[in-house]
């Protein structure tokens, strides 16, 4: 019965020609029965060709929408094609596709609507700047307080979603800082979330160029967005 479920791995990619092919190949290696969908978010490099060559389905957005719009396009595809489970994996290679079966297993066994791959529980050792860890821990506290459940890694984009979540996201997905906001959205719609420990590597290409000032700016904006979300109306 487990093998009859249709699984889609959504890989958003913006200027990731250097890593997207490898990510798709690894996804196919560790989860051969899933389809890989690369959402090319208006890249001007060869992201689309590289993804196509590695055997992924490629969804080309006509211009850059940002991570929220790109991810939602992926969920819309999943919804239209009737997928039962969708998994988000970043196109820059910071998520290890080897961990996908773990997310999948938790989603099915715990019967939750979303599983988050967390860098901060269990034996996973994640090294990053002090600033970033402080920021994540503040998010973690605020989100945990709002949703009434301990969420250790609200900014992780390594996630698995049930068909109910797919349906919700196809119609309603936050735009600017989707990862933390999604948790509030799910809570408001009464959907359940679980976390599993995963290891994450550094990005293959490019650095996360978040300086101190910018990370504070980012944090204030996300907190504001979360605050505003608490007043939004959702129909589900």
């Amino acid at each position: 019965m487990k093998n009859k479920q249709k699984i889609l791995v959504i890989i958003p990619a913006y200027h990731e020609e250097g890593s997207v092919g490898k990510v798709v190949e690894e996804v196919k290696q560790y989860l051969p029965r899933a389809d890989a969908l690369v959402v090319n978010d208006g890249s001007s490099d060869h992201t689309s060709e590289k993804a196509e060559a590695s055997g992924a389905i490629v969804l080309n957005l006509p211009f850059n929408l940002g991570i929220g719009g790109a991810m939602q396009a992926g969920y819309q595809y999943a919804h239209e094609k009737g997928y039962d489970i969708a998994i988000q994996v970043d196109g820059d290679g910071q998520h290890n596709p080897k961990e996908i079966p773990k997310l999948l297993q938790t989603l099915i066994e715990k019967e939750v609507d979303m599983v988050i791959g967390s860098r901060f529980i269990g034996d996973s050792q994640f090294k990053s700047s002090m600033m970033r860890r402080v920021g994540i821990s503040i998010f973690s506290r605020v989100i945990s307080l709002i949703v009434g459940q301990k969420i250790t890694d609200p900014t992780s984009g390594f996630r698995a979603a049930s068909h109910r979540t797919i349906r919700l996201f196809a119609f309603d997905y936050p735009q600017d800082y989707p990862e933390p906001e999604v948790l509030v959205l799910l809570h408001q719609c009464g959907l359940k979330v679980a976390e599993v420990p995963v290891g994450m590597s550094k990005r293959y290409a490019g650095e996360s160029s978040i300086t101190k000032l910018r990370s504070i700016y980012y944090m204030v904006k996300v907190l504001l967005a979360i605050f505003v979300d608490c007043f939004k109306k959702h129909s589900f």
Binding site: V39, I57, N60, L61, L65, G69, A73
Partner: protein, 129 residues
Amino acid sequence: MLIKIQLFIGTLSIILLFITFELIRKKKLREEYSLLWLFTGAVILIFSIWPEYFLSRFFSQITGIFYLSAVVLLAFLFLLLIVFHFSVVISKLTDRNKELAQRHALLELEFREFRNSHPHSQNPSNQNG
């Protein structure tokens, strides 16, 4: 002093009205905005023609401020309203733009898959299939 300010504001409002008319004539301004700007121009014009009856007596009695400040305040309030209206419109447009982009991408993918699975059903006039 007052007559100078009146002339200045009167001229401004006439220029505003003229530009609005021109844009409407050339169909470069949508009706919803043209009405807003025509109304704004007309109100400013009225204030410049009858400042004492309309403002010094009526408005400053209520607010206790003088003509120029009253006009500036009113203009500011108008601009605030207009800018606010624009943010609402831009938000709506951005949303629709996003939805269009997503729909476009999904349809394009569907089309590519369809064409790949039906290689013989191509339109003969389409040369780069």
